[in-house]
Symmetry: C2
Subunit: 182 residues, 2 copies
């Protein structure tokens, strides 16, 4: 394994309510020095839940996505709050966004979003044995819940509003995992 | 389909070499007004190439990822430059990062990274019929090229340095597409 670059300098160059931009001077093992910028995310990270209503039916949500300024069909996700572990965070997001909680939760992988310039990590949690449990989150409007069959994943990927890479990766991984389980 | 929120106000609140933070006041169709922040990416977007050396072997790269401060194993990608179309951009990135160009290129899907707060879109390009073609990009050190068999995708996902959601989603999608082709 290659020796990672040495961080010669790192400083915050912009900070807003949501974003924290850090500028870094890095020296690679060959002596080349480059200036990089990255966004620092929460060190706790985020969770993405894959709620299975039954062995084939996953519950997606259609929610307004301010980054791309349209509604997006994807898995429920959100930040881990202080004091929560990642399974607790997944179950809270589920109750807020989907109206269910899960008796069986397992962390199946952790994904990065854009590791070249974001520090963010998203932990993928498979949620099974669901039961109705609704709590109020900070959503500005009611979220539409869309059941979808994993056996029809190909059709989902043809929907114009289903584009989010973490959700797509997680759906494929869960489909494989559940096949292996059975 | 729900009516998307009305943008009451949008302004730049931070701008660095790489990042452009926009603050927006949005009024949802139920009258609720919320303030959002998002990152604006290049309107041209980025490309992610899936270079197939043969029907089962994809060429990955292991490159330093400043966002997470470690080497990451993923598909080659980069921004679309002014005047390029997305297939040209994919072929240029391939030559710079992998040392190949492709005679056969097709756009198979477009992914978003974090649509809740990033405007970024990444176009996935399947690259086949490769031939050696090396050009010099802006990389600070030589990039390690790692051939991997799609038939062993499960083992790849167990590697600690393979976490990038767009690459994982694209590999699953290409594996399905190539199965359907044959």
């Amino acid at each position: 394994m290659r020796k990672p670059p040495r961080i010669l300098d790192a400083q915050t160059i912009a900070k807003t309510r949501l974003f924290h931009v850090e500028q870094m001077d890095l020296e690679f093992s060959n002596g080349v020095i480059v200036q990089y910028e990255r966004l620092k995310g929460s060190s706790r990270g985020a969770v993405l839940a894959v709620p299975m209503l039954d062995a084939d039916t996953v519950l997606l949500i259609r929610e307004y996505a301010a980054g791309v300024q349209r509604y997006e069909l994807a898995l429920p996700k959100g930040r881990i709050e202080p004091g929560e572990d990642l399974l607790e965070a997944a179950n809270r997001e589920l109750a807020e966004e989907v109206g269910y909680a899960a008796r069986k939760l397992r962390h199946i992988t952790s994904l990065t979003v854009a590791p070249g310039y974001l520090s963010h990590t998203t932990h993928v949690v498979l949620a099974e044995d669901l039961y109705p449990s609704k709590s109020i989150g900070d959503e500005p409007e009611e979220i539409e819940v869309v059941p979808w069959r994993l056996s029809r994943l190909g059709e989902l990927l043809e929907c114009e509003d289903c584009t989010e890479a973490r959700s797509i990766a997680a759906l494929f991984m869960v489909r494989e995992l559940l096949r292996d389980d059975n």
